[in-house]
C-alpha cells in the first residue's frame, strides 16, 4: 500500500515536471505581454485571443504550418514505405555485407546535423533545390529511414519465423508474407517509428532554417522569426508554439492505438 502511494507520488511528480513547460506555453499564449512578464507570475488573468488573431492575421504562420504538414507527412510516409522492406530484409535474410549495411544505417544517425549543413546547402544550391519542399523531404529521409529501419527491424525479428514458414507452406510468396504477416504484426513498431519520424520532421529547425528562404519556411522557422533585435513578442511566439504542438499531439494520439503491445501473443505455444 505504501509502495503504491509512493509510486503515485513519483508518477505525479514526473507528470508535473514534463507537462509544466507545455502548460506554461499554452497559458502564455492567452496572456497579454504585460501579464507574461509580470513578476511574480500571474496565475489568474483575463484570457485574450489577441495573440492568435495576430499570428493568423499574418499568412506567414498558416502558410508555414501547411509547409510543415507537407514536408513532415511526405517524409514520414516515404520513410515507412522505403524503410519497412529494408527492415524485413535485415530481420529475416542473411546476405553479404548485412552487418555493414546495418552499421551504415545506424551511423547516419550518429553524425551531428550541423556538420553536414554546409555541404548539404551547397549540394542543394547546385541542384537548384533551395527553398523547395523536396529538399527538406529528402534531407529528412536521411534521418527518418534509419529510425524506421532500426525500430521495425527489431519488431520484425520478434515475429516467430515459424509464422513465415507456415505461410510459405500455405503458398504465400515473399511479398505476400511481408504484406499479410509482417506488416500487420509489425504495426506497433511501424507506428512508433512513424511518430518519431513525424515529430522529427515537424520540429526540425536547423536544416529548415538553412535550406529555405521565403516560399517553404516551416513552422519552427517562422516561430523563431518573431524574435527580432528590438522586441520579444512572447505571446505570439507561445501562440505559434501551441499551434505547432497541436498536430503532433493529435497525430500521436491517433497512432498510439496501434502501439498496443502483445499483438504477437497467441501465435505460438
Amino acid at each position: 500500500m505504501r509502495g503504491k502511494i509512493l509510486h503515485a507520488i513519483g508518477l505525479a511528480a514526473i507528470v508535473v515536471f514534463t507537462l509544466f513547460p507545455f502548460v506554461w506555453m499554452v497559458m502564455a499564449s492567452f496572456k497579454t505581454q504585460s501579464d507574461i512578464l509580470a513578476s511574480p507570475p500571474v496565475w489568474l488573468f483575463t484570457p485574450t485571443l489577441q495573440n492568435y488573431v495576430d499570428i493568423f492575421a499574418d499568412t506567414k504562420v498558416s502558410g508555414a504550418i501547411v509547409n510543415s504538414l507537407i514536408v513532415a507527412t511526405l517524409s514520414t510516409l516515404l520513410s515507412v514505405i522505403l524503410g519497412t522492406p529494408a527492415a524485413f530484409a535485415l530481420a529475416r535474410y542473411d546476405f553479404r555485407g548485412k552487418s555493414d549495411l546495418w552499421f551504415w544505417f545506424i551511423s547516419n544517425r550518429m553524425t551531428s546535423p550541423i556538420v553536414l549543413a554546409l555541404p548539404v546547402y551547397l549540394l542543394a544550391m547546385y541542384a537548384n533545390l533551395l527553398d523547395t519542399h523536396i529538399v527538406l523531404i529528402l534531407i529528412y529521409l536521411t534521418f527518418n529511414i534509419p529510425i524506421v529501419v532500426w525500430i521495425v527491424t527489431d519488431q520484425f525479428k520478434s515475429i516467430p519465423p515459424d509464422l513465415e514458414q507456415a505461410a510459405r507452406l500455405d503458398g504465400a510468396d515473399q511479398f505476400t508474407i511481408f504484406r499479410k504477416i509482417y506488416l500487420p504484426l509489425g504495426a506497433p513498431g511501424i507506428a512508433v517509428s512513424a511518430i518519431f519520424s513525424f515529430i522529427f520532421s515537424w520540429n526540425e529547425l536547423l536544416y529548415a532554417l538553412v535550406l529555405t528562404r521565403r516560399n517553404v519556411q516551416t513552422a519552427p522557422v517562422v516561430a523563431t522569426s518573431f524574435m527580432s533585435g528590438y522586441e520579444l513578442p512572447w505571446g505570439k511566439i507561445m501562440a505559434t508554439g501551441t499551434v505547432i504542438v497541436l498536430p503532433v499531439t493529435i497525430f500521436a494520439l491517433i497512432v498510439s492505438r496501434h502501439m498496443v503491445r502483445g499483438l504477437t501473443m497467441g501465435a505460438t505455444k
Binding site: 515459424d162 509464422l163 510459405r168 507452406l169 500455405d170 504465400a172 502483445g262 501465435a267
Partner: protein, 360 residues
Amino acid sequence: MTFLRLDNIKKNYGDASVIKGVSFAAAKGEFVVFVGPSGCGKSTLLRMIAGLEDVSEGQLYIDGKDVTYEEPAKREVSMVFQSYALYPHMNVFENMAFGLRMAKRPEAEIKAQVAEAARILQLEHLLDRKPRALSGGQRQRVAIGRSIVRHPKLFLFDEPLSNLDAELRSQMRVEIAKLHRSLGATMVYVTHDQVEAMTLADRIVVLRAGLVEQIGSPTELYDKPANTFVAGFIGSPKMNFINAKVSSASGTGLRLDHPAFAGGTLGVDTPAAARAKVGDTVTVGMRPEHLTVGAANPVLSLTLDFAESLGGSTQLYARSEGEPVIALTAGRPELKPGDTLNLGIDPRHIYLFNAAGLAL
C-alpha cells in the same frame, strides 16, 4: 506403392553434417514416425521434406515426382508446427482459410472447406476467435485444421503435442490417430516421445546423430531391436543391460558370467546365442516388464535399492556390482530396501547384443 521416398538424403551446415544419408520409403496412407533423442536430425529431416530446408545431397520424391528442389507450396504438403504458428492477427476462420485464399479458390469453396474442417475438429463455435483467446488444445486443433483444409498429399507433424499437458496430450494423440484413419492420408510425424511413436505409427524410423538406426513397425522394434540404442529407446522404463563374459559355448548353448546372475552365471540357448564365442563380451538385455519377482528359477539375484509404487504396479530399483536394474511388477510386493531380489524371465525375452551393440 511408394508414395514418399527419401534417397540418400544429406544435410550439411557448413562443415557440420547433420543428416548423414537417410534412405527410406513410405506407402500411401502410411503413418510414419521419426523418433530419436533431441539433436538427432529428425526435425531437420521433416523440414527438408516440407521444403523449408534445402537438401544438401540426395533425392526426394513425393507421389512419384522428384521434388528435391521444388518450392514448399508446390509440394502440396502441410505441416503442423511445434509452436502451432497460427497467424495471431487473424481469427480461426481466416487462419484456416489462408492457404485456400493463397490458392485463389472461390469464396464458396473456402467457406465449405473451412466449415468441414471445423466440424471434424469441433471448432465451429470458435471460428471468430483470435488465437490468443484459445486454449492450448484448441490452438492445436486450429493448426491441424489449417493443414487439412487444403487436402495436401502429405501431412507433416513436428512434435505437435510437446507443448500440451499430459492429459491433453494423450487425448490429442487419440484424435490424431482417428484423423489419420478417417482421412486415410500419408502422415509423417516427428517426436522424441517413444510412447507417441509406439501408439501412432504404422512404421517407426529411429534416428540417431543423423543416421537411421532402425526402421520397422512398433512391435518389430520392440521385439527385435537391431541394436542397444533402439532397444534402450523403445520401451519404458528402458531396457536393462548387463555386460557379461562368455565362459563357454556349445552349439546354440551359451554360458554367460556376471555377478548379477543368480549363481554368477546365466545359460542362454537360442539361435542368436550361437553367434557368440568364448571370451566375447555380450550385452544381455532384459525389459523391466518381462522380469518376474519371486520366480522359481531366478536368473538375476540382486539387492533391492528402493521401490516405487505406481498404484497398480510397482517399479523396483535393484543393483549388483554397479549395474542398476529396474523391474516392473504388478501389485505391491512386500519388499524393503536391502532385501534380496530374485528375478526370473522367460528365456524368449532375453536379448543379446555383441560388443559393438548390434543384436546377435
